[in-house]
Symmetry: C2
Subunit: 152 residues, 2 copies
Amino acid sequence: MVSNGSECRRLVKIGTLAQLAGVSTDTLRFYEKNGLLAPCSRNAAGYRLYSAREVQRIRFILSAKSVGFTLKEIHELLALEVRREQASCEDVKQLVDEKISVVRQRIAELQRIQGSLQILSDACCGGDEPASHCTILEALNAGPDERLATEE
Amino acid sequence: MVSNGSECRRLVKIGTLAQLAGVSTDTLRFYEKNGLLAPCSRNAAGYRLYSAREVQRIRFILSAKSVGFTLKEIHELLALEVRREQASCEDVKQLVDEKISVVRQRIAELQRIQGSLQILSDACCGGDEPASHCTILEALNAGPDERLATEE
DNA sequence: CTTGACTTTGGAGTAGACTCCAGGGTTTAT
DNA sequence: ATAAACCCTGGAGTCTACTCCAAAGTCAAG
Ligand SMILES: [Zn+2]
Ligand SMILES: [Zn+2]
Ligand SMILES: [Zn+2]
Ligand SMILES: [Zn+2]
């Protein structure tokens, strides 16, 4: 299935695509195994050959990765991208908005953690003497709930 | 090695400790395998027996977990807790402060991601019509660098 | 023609924090 | 005494996104 006649004129091998994209050949094969990026064709020896279309595609993948999408999510995005005509902006935007909400939650959780750690740090003298009296150790010993309760 | 005579009077089995701590027995065995929490002794049948000391210890572990420490880090914290006299507040506080800085970095990265996603979302009409013109798909197709460059 | 760089496959290993399972033995309540 | 509920061990499986490997075939330069 060499298919799209005009698309597959300037074909590159996996090493070249890897260099173009700034990833390893292993990564490209891994993406292929996961249905993200298939070569346009193979040569007689079985070498993978990629066309401009695939160069474009890996750019899309890496772009989506850089804004925090998982490979699974990128799979969905690619599905929409491929059949753009049948999909709607609504569909696309929904994926982005769901991701935003997950990211927000993770930020909130990390901020909570940061706050707790800061309270611990601030309460500790950080001095050279034995830690027998250390407020951090005491707070941790108090347990997760008591810690919050006795925070103030 | 049943050791500490007075410490091991009221002993509980693993299921009880699990309930007290709100974790599974599997988790307790996992923590033991990782050197975080060993039973005080075993009964004739080989059942794990835990004393108040271990109840305290799992409270410490869960407390540390709740403020974002990994099990590996908790291992270090426990080492300090156990030999409190030889350790200093400085040692303890350093672990907390290192963690704070890691958490800060992760928050920053997530905020960057959130910002990028928000830009994508805001630019998309989110409508019902075909996504052939969708700005999100276009932006992702532009690649990670171009996206940033043409953001404004 | 030879050497070295490149490519193929399948499969294993990594980190983190568990979870689940099989195939046993034990305890407890009735 | 018997069933339910508990406990033991060792090991495998989960999820993510790769990375590394060996053994073998292929291509390009000199
Ligand atoms: Zn101090
Ligand atoms: Zn201190
Ligand atoms: Zn639109
Ligand atoms: Zn759109």
